[in-house]
Amino acid sequence: MPDTVLASPADLALVERLRAGDETAFMMLVEQHQAAMLRIARMYVATQAAAEEAVQEAWLGILKGLDRFEGRSSLRTWMYRIVANVAKTRGQRDGRSIPFSSLEGADGGSGVDPEWFQGASERAPGGWRAFPDDWRGIPEDRLAAHETLEEIGRAIEDLPPMQAEVLRLRDVLGWTSEEVRNALDLSETNQRVLLHRARSRVRRALHGYLFESEDR
């Protein structure tokens, strides 16, 4: 099924520059994507070294494939699918098979604690026991402080790998949901469930940090 996100004019211009041997254009592409490509590969192989090898191999595949790139998806989703395929093949060859549920954290639930809400026998079942503490009094220089952003980074690292990657691609790198679905081969619903769990958990961690461990 073709993607409905096609390559942009910028993608096609970049492909032309790469075909012409433009090293600056290539290194920009590496800077933009290497970290995410390594994380994606790492989901399917056993070690960081194997992930680095898989990504190196994927880059060679991307370069070889450039002449055939027809722009029927965005350049980056096409690149990430090559990375995922190379890493999956490598992982299978190394005898590593990972249940998808462990990547996704399917059994972990969202970051929403049922205990925040009243139970069936209480006055207002499903209503807040107490509202979450208000963030509005917190000054921007604390919210956007280096330490706060580090806390968010740690919360993301604690997520199951697929949740973390969906969140990074969507909220750190600003991809559309469709690009993320295509790059990571997820259904529309699944992408949204993973995003919801990830964002809920990060909000909860951030809340705990901002209010020194008050958990709501």
Binding site: Q32, A35, V112, W116, F131, P132, L143, I152, S200
Partner: protein, 81 residues
């Protein structure tokens, strides 16, 4: 789907679908109706928006020099054809 009012717990679990524009129009209307009357859920929704905004300030890790050098070599031999 039933038309009884959504609980706060339900609204909190629908926040991402709401922000993604993925709710059916009738459910969206029920979420918005709930939010109009509920300071707790409005606060939660705002905090999810803030979380997204602050997450957007993170940056990717730098690529180690030796990886860059290896990839540049690969690019040079590819373009030399």
């Amino acid at each position: 789907m039933s038309t009884k009012p959504l609980t706060c717990h339900e609204v909190v679990e629908l926040v991402t679908d709401y922000l993604e524009g993925a709710l059916a129009p009738d459910v969206r209307a029920r979420v918005e109706g709930h939010l109009a009357d509920c300071d707790g859920c409005t606060r939660y929704l705002e905090q999810m928006r803030e979380t997204i905004r602050l997450t957007g300030k993170l940056t990717e890790e730098q690529v180690p020099e030796e990886q860059k050098a290896a990839l540049l070599d690969a690019f040079r031999s590819w373009s030399a054809g």
